[in-house]
């Protein structure tokens, strides 16, 4: 009897839960194309509850669809129905994987929703290296070309940033594949790689003398790191940060998009989200649908040029 009552009660919930209502009436899936625990995941995980609040309580579920430099998730997002129930958390890699020929998915396959954050890159060195400054590193690299090892997700942002430094300083690195920041940290702490693309999330380890920040790729020094010089002031004109935003599959209805955009703007102002971004050394950098569309277009052209400059352009 108990089973029967439970079944009937379940059935009732089951059917009533499905009354048609205005968007959004069911959970929204946010595709993060990297493994959980990576920096992209760390930024969108606190963003999801803020977005959820702004959407009036609709559940926002993060789906980590990682693999092959983020291209698996990109393909999955592209193939999802354009009904506003699938969002795609993206960063600059979408341009790079397209131009380096690793994937066929381009930013133009999506509708921009909003840009939320930018994380400046910091050139980070292993504690086991003998240099303490950018200058010593460059001198060493000039003396031993191709000997300094850099851990990077090949073909993605963590590969491009050191490559830009390489070009600006006229030096040559050796690249070793370490997908994702978490793996690179294990390797650099053990001294198995010399350099990597880091960011402010690793400040704790620098304070504990487990890592060395050589230079930051911003216009001005970061208030969190007053002692770390910018690449620009050292004479290497490299400004680089990884920008993260939300996209929706192409063809998502305009009213749905505007609803999402509004919620996104509200969520970006959420104090809890802001606090967790500050802890991760990331600037909340909100752009609406139009602004983000413009940004993506410029960024795409920029990344195409970058790929060409670095000899990685495949299309």
């Amino acid at each position: 009897m108990k089973v029967l009552t439970a079944a009937v009660a379940g059935l009732a919930l089951f059917t009533f839960a499905n009354v048609q209502a205005a968007y959004p009436d069911r959970p929204i899936k946010m595709i993060v194309p990297w493994a959980a625990g990576g920096d992209t995941d760390n930024i969108f995980r606190p963003f999801a509850p803020a977005l959820q609040k702004a959407l009036g309580g609709t559940t926002v579920v993060i789906a980590n669809i990682g693999g092959a430099s983020g291209t698996v998730g990109a393909r999955e997002a592209k193939g999802s129905p354009a009904d506003g129930y699938t969002l795609y958390a993206v960063h600059d890699y979408i341009h790079l994987t397209y131009y380096t020929g690793m994937s066929d998915v381009s930013y133009a396959d999506f509708e921009p929703v909003c840009l939320i954050a930018a994380t400046p890159s910091i050139l980070t060195a292993s504690p086991k290296t003998k240099w303490n400054t950018m200058k010593e590193m460059v001198a060493d690299a000039k003396a031993n070309p191709g000997q300094i090892s850099v851990g990077a997700t090949l073909g993605s942002t963590s590969h491009f940033f050191p490559a830009m430094v390489e070009k600006a300083a006229g030096i040559k690195f050796k690249y070793i594949s370490y997908d994702g920041l978490a793996q690179r940290m294990n390797a650099i702490l053990g001294g198995h790689i010399d350099l990597t693309d880091g960011n402010l999330t690793q400040k704790g380890k620098v304070d504990a003398a487990q890592l060395k920040f050589l230079a930051i790729a911003t216009e001005k020094r970061s208030p969190e790191l007053p002692n770390v010089p910018t690449l620009k002031e050292l004479g290497y004109n490299v400004i680089y940060s990884v920008s993260r935003g939300l996209l929706a599959p192409k063809g998502t209805p305009a009213d749905v998009l505007s609803k999402l955009e509004g919620a996104c703007g509200q969520a970006a102002k959420d104090p809890t989200f802001a606090e967790s971004m500050r802890k991760q050394g990331t600037d909340v950098h909100y752009l609406d649908h139009k602004g983000y569309a413009e940004f993506l277009k410029q960024n795409d052209a920029l990344n195409k040029d970058l790929s060409r400059d670095l000899g990685l352009l495949k299309r």
Partner: protein
């Protein structure tokens, strides 16, 4: 460290964590007690339930399942003589005779208390050793990791029952499954035959769930007879016992308890050798050290103590390996690791120092799961026997539904469910061809890592001799060769004495 642990325990004592831990332990005990449902299976079933919880809640649940499952096997083993999980097989040797002699309470509580103490002793090791081992793991470069994985594979292949050749081949099949799909470095599609479906390769958890769940469930289904109704519930005999005398029986043999625990821990730390190897080895040793080896198999309490203490100590040892190295040692820990990843935790050398709250939360959950388990058994041991007799015709469809949810919810893509079906067929075929599954699963777990570390090593330094000349790496490779040679020698010696029998797959 001690205050961190205290804070961890205090944290886990909150209802928010205590309830998942309790439920996990309960489900683990039931799963462990159900014959034909292994710990791995129970963890696979519980996995999707943890996706929506916060990380520590999820991991507390899984830890509970792991601890409970390892102890639960003893209940059915002692009372009805069927091991609830493969690792409880040695508990049947002495537990069941003791029950037949009219002492079921003594048999089952010897098992439960030994599990508890073995597990708790291993907990001390877990907490003390993870940190230092993590420091060593940090020094491991790509060469050392590569050699470590090769060593693990060769050792498991060598330890399998039956043919060494098939053990090795099973391991290589596991590796071959991982090379399908985009290559791990530059994402070049391999063996995809031009299809989009194969581009993602075969994601590891759906493959694992498919192989395990189907290999096991189908073996059960084979034995079903058309229409079969539940066997009449087994009448549980009264389990009254003097706990003091049982505790005295255990503590009057401190050496046995300590040694069995140690065996369990060591087997647990070594990647890929499961709980059943630990219990068999501990039982064997207990018999060798005993003054009265002839009493074994006839209801000797020493047999139960050795078997159960090593079984739960093995859990502590396995947890060390995933927490310090970030490498799952066997299928159970692989699914545990999957659960961690879903919660945004990358285990590995930096895990304990970066997420002390979660790491010590896991320690605390592990320690607390043991008294919880004893408590649950005190109230529920008899009830479990009733659950054990749920008709398979109801159980199996629902287990399969949970497998689908587990496979789907991981990435939210339908392809993963298709992979589940595909590898269900493969798993069943492999069991029918009598391939051991343990090396295959290990190959599957380590495949990508072996490739990535091999390429990393060569990208770091083109000199291939470094694999041999770097001391740790060279030592590990030498051990691999030795373990295969040893297995070869042992198989030769045993030839003729044992013949391959159509045995239940041992997970």
């Amino acid at each position: 460290m001690f205050d961190l642990l205290l804070a961890g325990i205090e944290n886990v004592l909150h209802l928010k964590y205590l309830v998942p831990l309790f439920l996990g332990t309960l489900v683990g005990l039931i799963g462990g007690a159900l014959p034909g449902v292994t710990i791995t299976m129970t963890i696979i079933i519980v996995l999707p339930f943890t996706f929506g919880l916060d990380p520590l809640q999820g991991l507390a649940t899984m830890t509970g399942v792991y601890v409970g499952g390892s102890a639960g096997g003893a209940i059915t083993a002692a009372l009805i003589g069927i091991p609830g999980t493969p690792s409880a097989i040695t508990t049947t040797f002495d537990g069941f005779p003791m029950t037949q002699k009219g002492q079921p309470g003594r048999a089952i509580w010897l098992g439960i208390w030994s599990s508890c103490f073995g597990g708790l002793l291993a907990g001390i090791f877990l907490i003390g050793a993870t940190g230092p081992l993590a420091a060593i793991a940090l020094e491991f470069g790509p060469w050392e990791y590569f050699s470590l994985f090769v060593f693990a594979l060769s050792m498991v292949a060598g330890l399998t029952e039956g043919s060494l050749l098939k053990g090795l081949l099973a391991g290589v099949i596991g590796l071959a499954i991982t090379i399908v799909g985009s290559d791990p470095i530059m994402s070049v599609p391999r063996f995809t035959l031009g299809t989009e479906f194969l581009r993602n390769g075969f994601p590891f958890l759906p493959v694992l769930i498919g192989i395990f769940a189907f290999a096991q469930l189908m073996t059960d289904i084979e034995k079903m007879k058309g229409s079969e109704h539940a066997a009449a519930p087994i009448k549980a005999p009264p389990l009254t016992v003097s706990h003091l005398s049982v505790l005295w029986e255990i503590f009057s043999r401190p050496f046995l308890l300590a040694w069995s625990t140690l065996v369990g821990i060591l087997i647990g730390v070594l990647p890929a050798i499961g709980g059943s190897a630990a219990t068999v080895m501990a039982y064997d040793q207990a018999k060798k050290f005993s003054k009265h080896p002839e009493r074994f198999g006839k209801g000797n309490p020493e047999g139960i103590i050795a078997s159960e203490a090593s079984c739960n100590a093995n859990v502590g040892g396995s947890l060390v390996t995933i927490m310090a190295f970030g490498i799952p040692g066997d299928a159970v820990t692989a699914v545990m690791l999957g659960a961690m990843t879903i919660h945004g935790i990358q285990s590995g050398p930096l895990f304990v120092s970066q997420h002390p709250q979660i790491a010590y939360g896991i320690y605390a959950a592990y320690l607390l799961a043991h008294p919880l388990m004893v408590l649950i058994c005190a109230f529920g041991a008899r009830l479990f026997l009733r659950v054990v007799t749920v008709p398979k015709s109801m159980l199996i469809p629902n287990v399969l539904v949970l497998c689908v949810i587990g496979a789907f919810a991981l990435n939210n893509i339908m392809e993963d469910v298709v992979v589940l079906l595909l590898f269900g067929l493969v798993g069943y075929a492999l069991v029918k061809a009598r391939f051991p599954l343990a090396p295959l699963i290990l190959g599957l777990i380590l495949g990508d890592q072996i490739e990535v570390n091999l390429l990393r090593a060569i990208m770091s330094d083109a000199n291939p001799w470094l694999f041999i000349t770097r001391p740790i790496s060279g030592f590990l490779l030498a051990l691999s060769v030795a373990s295969v040679l040893f297995a070869l020698w042992q198989h030769r010696r045993q030839k003729g004495r044992t013949r391959e029998v159509d045995q239940e797959p041992d997970f």
